[in-house]
Structures are given as structure tokens and as C-alpha cells.
């Protein structure tokens, strides 16, 4: 295989995987052995090997979320050995490679845990709460006219860069999963500050933060206590500064918006 390391020895691993039939049943950890895992495999490819084995044995494969496997879609979401997306910083589960583990390792794999993220099955959780928060205000309305020309609205480079930094959030939910309070504030603040920084976002600026925070609370996420585990585990490096920006936006909106209710 091109690009693979010929000296890399295949690994045998013990997996402790959370198995849960559906939302209404209790789950438990089940032990599996996987053999001849190449260190060049991604973590999800290693799980593919496990599922092939299970299928051959007539067992049900482990359900887990994945889509692009390129680190940009935010679908993969595994809590690996007590860390969101595993031990490697700045990495989604799909971009975590088995070379980060050693032969004979035991790896515990769990789904995101949060009251607002119910487990669908095994390692797959329902993150539609995030969708409803975005629906509450994480957008800009362009209701009329043709496609605007590029660069029609001048935006200073440093503002554009900061907005882009916030926009890199892939909504994977690692922030919620690793937060002791199961707070979604890093996710919500990334969207709030991105749109607050850009002129296109100013029309709905105050109503947006009010509605998104209200929806966030309604979904049952906890309150931020500035622990910082979210930012430490975030695969794209969304910073805590965004939460401070959201707090400012929120208090300012509450004090000055025209929404009395």
C-alpha cells in the first residue's frame, strides 16, 4: 500500500465497547478482541474490521456515526479512553490513527454522554438538539434580490479571520461530551460570535443570541462554568473567547433589544 510504513507491526487490541439496543434499553460494556490491526488504519477503519468480524460471526455490528472520514463533517463522535475523539489533540475520531495506540492496548469506546444527546444505538447518539439551536437563530436571512457580488461588503482581514476561526466549528458535540456540566456554550458561542463579527449578521444580531440561548436552555444543556475542557477537546480549536463574546452579546441583547417577552 502506497504511503504505508513497511516496518509497522500489526496490533492486537482489546476493545471495551458500549452496546445498547435502543433509546429505551439499558446499555453495557462488551469486550471484543481485534487482531492484525495496521497502525496506518484510522480508528473508524479499525471499527470496520471489528464489524466485519462480528458480521462473520453472525452478530450485530456496532453502530457508530461517520460520514466524510476527512475530519470536516462532524459526524464521528466517539469517547475513546476517557477523552472526546481520543487522546490526540485537535483531531476528530476519523483522523485518529491506530499508530497512536500500542499492541496489546485495551481501548474503551463510549458514546457522547449528555441528557440532551440520547443514545440511539450503541455508539450513535441523537444530536438533533444542535440542529434546533441553529434553527432558532444560527443563520442570516437574505429574503430578496439576486446573488450578491463577491466582496461587495468590505470586511477587514482580521475580522474575517476571526469570524472564520469561529466558523470552523463542525458541530461534532465534543464540547458537550467532555463538559462536566454538559454545556453547549462553546458550540453556540462559535456560531453567535461568527455571525456577530460579520456585517451580514448584524440585522438579526440581538434576536439571534436571545433565541439561540433560549433554545440551548430548553434542550437541557448545562450552564458553562468556564472549566475549559470543551476548548481543550475541540478538534478544530474553537477558543473560550467565543463564550465570552456570546456572554457580552447576550447581556447586551437582553438590555437593549426590543423583544419584551
Amino acid at each position: 500500500m502506497a504511503g504505508s510504513n513497511p516496518n509497522a507491526k500489526p496490533m492486537n487490541l482489546t476493545l471495551k465497547v458500549w452496546r445498547q439496543r435502543n433509546r429505551n434499553t439499558e446499555g453495557r460494556i462488551v469486550d471484543y478482541q481485534v487482531k492484525d490491526i495496521s497502525p496506518d488504519m484510522s480508528f473508524l477503519e479499525m471499527l470496520d474490521v471489528l464489524n466485519e468480524d462480528l458480521l462473520r460471526q453472525g452478530e450485530e455490528p456496532v453502530a457508530f456515526d461517520h460520514d466524510c472520514r476527512e475530519g470536516i463533517c462532524g459526524s464521528c463522535n466517539l469517547f475513546i479512553n476517557g477523552r472526546a475523539h481520543g487522546p490526540e489533540a485537535g483531531t476528530t475520531t476519523c483522523q485518529l490513527h491506530m499508530r497512536k495506540f500500542s499492541d496489546g492496548d485495551t481501548i474503551t469506546i463510549e458514546p457522547w454522554r449528555s441528557a440532551a444527546f440520547p443514545v440511539n444505538k450503541d455508539l450513535s447518539v441523537d444530536r438533533s438538539a444542535f440542529d434546533r439551536i441553529i434553527q432558532a437563530g444560527g443563520y442570516i436571512s437574505i429574503n430578496t434580490g439576486g446573488t450578491p457580488d463577491a466582496n461587495e461588503i468590505p470586511i477587514p482581514k482580521d475580522i474575517a479571520d476571526r469570524a472564520f476561526e469561529a466558523a470552523t466549528c463542525i458541530a461534532c458535540g465534543a464540547c458537550v461530551a467532555s463538559c462536566k456540566n454538559s454545556s453547549a456554550m462553546l458550540f453556540v458561542s462559535a456560531k453567535v460570535s461568527q455571525l456577530a463579527l460579520l456585517p451580514q449578521g448584524h440585522v438579526e444580531r440581538k434576536t439571534r443570541v436571545e433565541n439561540m440561548v433560549a433554545q440551548m436552555d430548553k434542550e437541557g444543556f448545562g450552564a458553562c462554568s468556564n472549566i475549559g475542557s470543551c476548548a481543550a477537546e475541540c478538534p478544530v480549536g474553537i477558543s473560550l473567547e467565543n463564550i465570552a463574546i456570546m456572554n457580552r452579546e447576550y447581556i447586551n441583547a437582553k438590555a437593549t433589544s426590543n423583544n419584551l417577552a
Binding site: C224, S229, N247
Partner: protein
């Protein structure tokens, strides 16, 4: 629900209350510490008694005392309520393996525990000093005369000096300051972050100030009872019923 109640019952509004009251309590700690340090002067508590009298009689301070109590109650209630809400948000099933120590500080994750320890200490502490100094019926204070005042004042120093000769009380006091230190270690900088005061220019300075504040304040609070426990120089004045004359320079002979 009006917009005001909606604001202060939202997760951000509730954290805002925690931050404002918490930082206010930090400012109170500075005043408390400066007055406590007066006890270490070798003046038999004259300076300390003078300032204790000032804190007990000055109308501005007395008004602020009410604000302080309300702030403290708000901080305690909101802190416990948020801890319950956040625990509920975590969901029923805990992680089988969770290495949160690899992504965050212990103090940050245990603010509710540290706050509860401080609350226990505070109850003992207030019963011992504050209630006695404010309400005569709860034991009251012996009277002493201090320089610069034309009326006798309560001898709160002797209450402190006597308390700081009791081993379990000194141990409780000093150990509680460890909880205070850790609580401030996270709380100081966290308060600024919640208020939205995060900026690449100032945040490193806020962090450093918070860490320095927590270590210095808790260490100085802890040192005072330890010094007064181990040193012979700090003795309570036995209550004789007579008003004792105190001077800032010489300690009248201990009776």
C-alpha cells in the same frame, strides 16, 4: 415571564449572578484580610479592635454588610442550584472511563464541592465571630478602650486569640483556606470570563492576577491563626468586667 426574569433565569444570566457576586465577595476578602492582619501587630489587639469597631458601626459599612449577606446568599443559592441543574444535564449514565484531568484543572471541576466546604466553614466561623460581635445576647464582647476613640469598644481580639488557641479550630480554619485558595484559583478568572471580559491583551494578566490573588489571600488568612496558635505573644484578655486601656505601642500587662 418578563424579559428581566427571563434574563436572570437563563443559563448565562445565572452565571452572570455567580460572577458578579463572586467578584464582589473577592473584594470583601481583601478588606477582611487587611483587618485580620492587624491582629499580628504586637499591640494586644488595639488596632484590630479599632477596625472591628469601625466595621461594626460605620453606616456605609453596615449598609454594605446587608449587600454582602445578600450577595453571599445569592452566590450560595445560585451555585448549588446550578450544580444540580448541571448534574441533571449530564444525564443518568456516567462515562465508564473519563480522563477529565487531561483536559481541565481539578479546581475548575470541583467548584461546588469547594464551595460547600467553604459554606460549612463559614457557618462555624460566623457563629463564632460575627454573631458574637453583632448580637450581645449571643455572648457579647468584653469592653476595652483603644486610642483615638472616646468610647469603649468590644474586645473582638480576645475572642479571636482565644479561638486560635483551640487546636481543632485552628486546623479547621487553616484547612478551609486551602479550599478557599482552590475556589479562588478558578473563581477569580472565571468571573471575568463570564462577564465577557476576555481579550487576548488582558486575559493572561487576569489569569496571573487570579492565581496570585488566590495563593496570597488564602496563605495569609491561614498564617494568622497558625502564628497566633504557636506564638506566646498572642493571648486573650480574661474578662474581668473592667474596661481595659489599650495603646497602639505598648501592650498593658496581661492579667
Amino acid at each position: 415571564m418578563s424579559w428581566i426574569t427571563k434574563t436572570f433565569s437563563s443559563s448565562i444570566g445565572r452565571k452572570f449572578i455567580m460572577a458578579v457576586t463572586g467578584l464582589f465577595l473577592c473584594s470583601f476578602l481583601v478588606v477582611h484580610l487587611l483587618i485580620n492582619l492587624q491582629m499580628l501587630r504586637h499591640d494586644g489587639g488595639a488596632s484590630f479592635n479599632f477596625w472591628a469597631e469601625f466595621m461594626g458601626t460605620n453606616p456605609v459599612i453596615r449598609a454594605m454588610e446587608v449587600v454582602l449577606m445578600l450577595g453571599l446568599l445569592a452566590h450560595i443559592y445560585q451555585g448549588l442550584a446550578l450544580a444540580v441543574k448541571n448534574k441533571k444535564a449530564r444525564g443518568g449514565q456516567a462515562y465508564v472511563v473519563n480522563h477529565s484531568e487531561q483536559n481541565s484543572q481539578w479546581a475548575s471541576r470541583n467548584m461546588a464541592l469547594l464551595g460547600t466546604l467553604l459554606l460549612i466553614f463559614l457557618i462555624v466561623h460566623l457563629m463564632n465571630f460575627w454573631i458574637r460581635s453583632r448580637f450581645d445576647a449571643m455572648g457579647g464582647l468584653a469592653e476595652v478602650r483603644v486610642p483615638n476613640l472616646d468610647h469603649p469598644v468590644g474586645d473582638l481580639y480576645s475572642v479571636a486569640a482565644a479561638s486560635f488557641k483551640i487546636p481543632w479550630y485552628v486546623a479547621l480554619y487553616a484547612l478551609s483556606q486551602i479550599a478557599l485558595g482552590y475556589h479562588l484559583w478558578h473563581g477569580f478568572r472565571s468571573g471575568f470570563q463570564t462577564l465577557g471580559l476576555n481579550h487576548r491583551k488582558y486575559t493572561p494578566a487576569i489569569y496571573l492576577t487570579g492565581y496570585g490573588f488566590s495563593v496570597i489571600v488564602s496563605a495569609l488568612f491561614a498564617i494568622i491563626p497558625l502564628v497566633m496558635f504557636f506564638s506566646e505573644a498572642y493571648q486573650p484578655r480574661p474578662a474581668t468586667g473592667n474596661t481595659v486601656e489599650q495603646s497602639l505601642t505598648t501592650e498593658p500587662a496581661l492579667r
